[in-house]
Each structure stands twice: as C-alpha cells, then as structure tokens.
C-alpha cells in the first residue's frame, strides 16, 4: 500500500543521524506503514494492548530509577538497571512529545534472558504502536517482549 505523505515525513525523521545515531528503522527495507501493520498483527495475537505493554515497561523503568543506575531486583523475576542522560529526544511522529533519554536494562532472574528499552520505546509503543524496524538498535519484538514481561 502506498504510504501517506505524513508517514513518509515521519519515516525520514527515523533515518540515521536525524534524531539518533542509528535511527529507528535499522536495516528494514519496508515502509513504515507495513512495519506498523505487521507489528500490530503480531501484538493482536498476544491479546495485549499497546498501552498495557507500555505501562508495564514504564512500571519496571520507574522501579529501576530508584537505583540511579544500580541494578535493582524487583521480585523473583526481574532485576532492573535504569540509567538516564541529560537532554530530551523529540518523538519522530511529530506529536510534539519530548521524551527523557533513559535506557532500562532488565534481566530475568529465573531464565537469565535480558532485554533493554528506552523511554522513547515506551512512548512510541504506547502512543503509536511502533516497535522500531528490524535491525535497529532498540528493536523490540512484540511477542518476545510480551513473554519476557510475563504478560502472556
């Protein structure tokens, strides 16, 4: 499907060097519309809404922030390390949102698996259902994330 001009502009915002060094599309050759649609389908199959997933991620990040970078065990499942940096990032979707620069690294204490995300990931998932393109630095797979967060 052809992409509307608005999304085309947003996809340009996501190119390397505009808002971050590697951008948010990565190696993906698909259109932004197609990326969004594919991930929406994947998410639908998990039965979890994008808002619920983003809120769970935010809950873990907030807990991690108490440690100011020190790994914080939350319960028997999650150990969270959250570190922030000065400045804010504007959201590429042109919604005027300015997001903190923060990276949250989470380790599953039972399985040893690790995942990481940024505050921008949380915002883009919550508001736009965007999990970034394949091969980008902070690409999150909806199904994998849902399993990791113990939501399915």
């Amino acid at each position: 499907m052809k992409q509307s001009p608005e999304l085309k502009l947003i996809q340009e915002n996501m190119m390397p060097g505009t808002l971050s060094a590697h951008g948010f599309i990565g190696e993906d050759s698909r259109n932004l519309t197609d990326i969004l649609r594919a991930d929406a389908k994947s998410l639908k199959q998990t039965g979890i809404t994008q808002e619920a997933m983003a809120e769970k991620m935010q809950e873990l990040t907030d807990f991690g922030m108490r440690g100011l970078g020190r790994p914080m065990p939350m319960d028997e499942y999650f150990e969270i390390e959250a570190e922030d940096y000065m400045g804010k990032l504007p959201c590429p979707f042109q919604d005027n949102a300015k997001v903190d620069k923060r990276q949250t690294r989470v380790r599953r204490l039972d399985t040893g698996a690790t995942m990481r995300w940024t505050d921008l990931n949380i915002h883009m998932i919550h508001e736009h259902g965007f999990f970034e393109g394949h091969g980008s630095t902070y690409r999150l797979d909806p199904a994998q994330l849902a399993r990791f967060l113990r939501m399915i």
Partner: protein, 365 residues
C-alpha cells in the same frame, strides 16, 4: 503542416507555463532580504530569509545558547522578539511561561525569518564566539567516558566562568549527512584559557557522543562556540556541596580548581557517585588535592561495588552518602551535575538538609 502547428503550439505553451512557474517561484519562494534589528538599532543586519532565526543569527556570528541543536527540546534559545515573528508554534509552547509569552519571548530555533525582525538580545550573548580548535589529546577516562583537550588557535582565548559550557559541532559521518551540535561543560580552569577541556560520555545511540568517541583523533579539528551557561559559583555562603556523576564532573572540577587557584575562602565538599569502580576516574587526582588543601573534602562513593573492586570507601546511593555526611546545610549552596534522575534525587535530599531549591544550582537542560 499540421505536425508543425502541433509541435509549435505544444512548445509555446510549455514555455509559457515554465515561465509562469519560474516567476511564481521567484515571487513566492524568495523570502528576499530581511532586516534584523538588534537591541533597537544597536546592530542591524540584512540577511537572506527562509531559515530559523537561530541559524540566521549564527550565520552573522551572533550565537544564542542552544543545547539540543535546534530540536526544541532544551528551551535555552529564548530571545525577545518585538516584531516579526508569526503566531506561537506548538513546538515552542512547553518552554515558554505565561509571563515569557506576554513579554514576547520565543524559541529562536523554531521561528523562521520570513520578514523584518526587531529583537532584543542580552549583552552577555555578544561575548560568545566561535573557535576552530585542534585536538591536543584524547584520554580514555573510563570504558565510556573520554576526555578531550582542544587547543585554541594562536592568539585566541575563551573568557569563561568556571562551570560554563561550550557547544561542540560534529561533521557528517557514515550514514549521517548533517552536522549537529551539543553542549558540554568545560573541565579546565579559566586561567588555562588557551585550550578547552571537555569530558564526554557515550550516550547509547547518541549522534554527537558517537561522533566524538569514534571519529576523532589527536590532530583533528573541531568547531566549538561559547561560552554559555548560568552554572557558576555564587559563593554567598561559607560552604558548598558539589555532587556529580559520570561526565558531570567536568564543571565541578573547573569550579574546584578555580576556587583553589584564586584562594577563595570557602569550604568545598565534592561527592562523586557511580555504580562500580570502573566508572570512577581522576580518583588519585582529587585525593591528592584533598590531601594538600584543608578546605576541600573529596568523597567518592559506589552504589554497588563489584567484589573485584576491593572498595573500602563509601557505599550506597549518592543521596544516601550525602545524607550521612551533612547535618545542617543552612549556610550552604549546592552544585549538581549529572543525569536528570540524580539531580532530582539530590535536590530532594539537600532540601531535607535545609538547603532550599533556590540555593541549588545545576544546568537545566
């Protein structure tokens, strides 16, 4: 014959249309020359319209503070625009208070120059200049922090206050086709004014920090401008608390060395907090200074020392450590530099020690 009329008429009409478009483009897209009047006739420039006020002014070598490179995420580039700006843009709204809007403050990075402007710029902005420096040395301070010493051109110096910052420009590299700039605090002392030292920490996927860490070597040239900033010693007190994390040490180091050099009679407590020992640097340097000066106390702290660190210093979150060391902060000022999370937490802990927020200083971007 008909072929001739056809070809002729299509050609003529195409030419006519092309001419109309050219004329329309000249008329519409050419914002033409615009006049910018600064401080009521103090300086008047004729510039080419169509660009943001921020970049138009820097083209005239007038530099307005900006930490985010014109993305409307720092709010530092405010200037009073008496005449010429259009309606307030949604991107500006979060950064302008009611009072500022009433006084015609606007974000210069968002306002486009399309007609004549009358603006007011504070005098101290005229002190800001641009420098093409050469990298004298790069030191690997920790696994993700590098120190840069940038030599200024001959005969040029930067007149700065300890604690201020410079803007650092990148060049296009790899897939990144444009130059960007970001703000970094000056780490050396004002008397050492033939060079500028910066401490830069790699931000995950950051455009400028990645450039600094991967593209620069000794001998390369780097464009900087400045100095900017309201973070400097006030000193209306007998004792100051300085708290830093990561690359936040830079302006604090500058202030400490400046105070000691000028013999200012003030007691300094410097708390430097990280998670493990691998993130600490300049430990010996500061311990040395503390040994030689009575009015300087150095307290490094780790929030989760690793077993191999063999750490026998303070342990805990930096806020916990500050809490242990300070009882009554009623005649103290606070100076903070580090991540926003650390700064917020420290403001809270200093408040519990009777140091009000007005007496706590930090770069707000």
């Amino acid at each position: 014959m008909e072929i001739l009329t056809t070809v002729l008429s299509v050609t003529v009409i195409s030419v006519v249309l092309a001419l109309i478009i050219i004329v329309a483009e000249y008329f519409f897209n050419n914002y033409g020359e615009c006049e910018i009047d600064i401080n009521n006739g103090d300086k008047v420039f004729k510039v080419e319209g169509g660009y943001s006020l921020l970049s138009t002014l820097s083209g005239q070598k007038i530099f307005i503070p900006s930490a985010c490179g014109g993305k409307a995420t720092c709010g530092l580039c405010k200037v009073q625009i008496i005449e010429g700006a259009g309606p307030l843009l949604p991107t500006e709204e979060p950064y302008l208070s009611e009072q500022e809007r009433n006084h015609n403050y606007r974000l210069t990075c968002q306002v486009k120059v399309k007609n004549n402007f009358r603006i007011l710029i504070p005098e101290e902005f005229f002190n800001i200049k641009e420098y093409i420096t050469t990298i004298e040395s790069i030191s690997q301070l920790t696994h993700d922090i590098k120190g840069f010493r940038l030599k200024l051109p001959d005969e040029e110096t930067v007149q700065f206050k300890a604690g201020q910052y410079m803007q650092f420009y990148t060049k296009p590299y790899d897939k990144i086709r444009e130059s960007v700039y970001r703000a970094y605090s000056i780490a050396n002392v004002p008397s050492d004014n033939e060079a500028i030292e910066l401490i830069i920490r790699q931000v995950p996927d950051g455009i400028c920090t990645t450039y600094a860490h991967t593209q620069l070597s000794e001998g390369d040239q780097v464009k900087i401008n400045g100095p900017y900033g309201d973070f400097y010693l006030r000193g209306d007190c007998s004792e100051i608390i300085m708290i830093a994390g990561g690359s936040g040490m830079a302006p604090i180091k500058s202030i400490i060395l400046d105070v000691l050099e000028r013999g200012i009679d003030i007691k300094m407590n410097f708390f430097f907090g990280t998670v493990t020992k691998k993130d600490l640097y300049d430990l010996d340097y500061f311990e040395n200074i503390a040994a030689r000066h009575d009015n300087f106390q150095f307290i490094p702290a780790l929030s989760k020392p690793a077993p191999e660190d063999n750490w026998d210093g303070e342990v805990g979150l930096i806020t916990e450590v500050v809490d242990r060391f300070i009882d009554d902060g009623s005649d103290m000022e606070g100076y903070l530099c580090g991540s926003p999370g650390m700064i917020n937490a420290c403001i809270n802990v200093l408040a519990t020690k009777s140091i009000p927020e007005e007496k706590v200083y930090y770069d707000k971007f």
